[in-house]
Symmetry: C2
Subunit: 146 residues, 2 copies
């Protein structure tokens, strides 16, 4: 089964489990959002909808994105500068971010040792760890020179 179909099934199951209905709008948003390769925010999704002449309103976008988050298909990232940022999570390994303070370039990385240490810290303080955010901010290779 293709990755997209599996993701769609996950979405459908999440909806059913919560007595929610699969609608044209949700299907359209699902396809649009899941095909995005980079970070995006709600307004960008809205723009793409207009460009493609899809019939999904602003209110619905703002209502469905959190549903996709709950279904574990996308995740909200905390590196917001005003607007809520999202990225596709489905079928992707967890990763953290290096962010350039000059050009805003985002590089993804993963470090297992840090993840282990994080779990140890949580345990030490009696926390049950659900999630984490780690963002390293600095100047990228290119911007460092200038």
């Amino acid at each position: 089964m293709s990755i997209m179909k599996e993701a769609l099934k996950t979405f459908e199951e999440h909806l059913k489990l919560n007595k929610m209905r699969m609608t044209q709008e949700r299907r359209q948003l699902f396809s649009l959002v899941m095909s995005l390769k980079t970070h995006f925010n709600s307004e960008e999704v809205l723009e793409k909808i207009k460009k493609k002449n899809l019939q999904v309103s602003r209110a619905t976008v703002y209502r469905v994105l959190p549903v996709l988050v709950k279904a574990n298909l996308i995740q909200q990232s905390l590196l917001q500068e005003g607007q809520a940022h999202f990225e596709v999570k489905w079928n992707k390994d967890h990763h953290d971010h290096l962010i350039c303070s000059v050009c805003n370039k985002i590089i993804e990385f993963k470090d297992n040792t840090i993840e282990i240490l994080q779990r140890e810290i949580a345990t030490k303080y009696g926390f049950y760890l659900e999630d984490h955010v780690m963002e390293l901010v600095g100047k990228c290779k290119t911007c460092k020179k200038n």
Copy 2:
């Protein structure tokens, strides 16, 4: 020299360096903000101003907090739920946060091994590391039980 006086000097130097002026309003905000022990947001600062009958407007609060950030006296934390959050940074060790997803309790911690690993990661990707945010989200000891 007292810690507060040193911080004030830092503030004054930052202002002079940027051709900015020390004003009554900035002095008042400096004192108010630097005495805060916990995380705070702009509206909370505004409330405290009203309670103390200080003469500082909303616009000025929103203008001066970023100046205090640039002067390295406070830092903006990214765990915002809508509003921009700040905390005093001056004279405090860097630390990261454990946040309870139920009661929003914040626990500060510091882990040197992680900091070293972070620097290694930055180097690996050619970044000059300026700052980082790490937030572990989960259920705290108390909320875990319920």
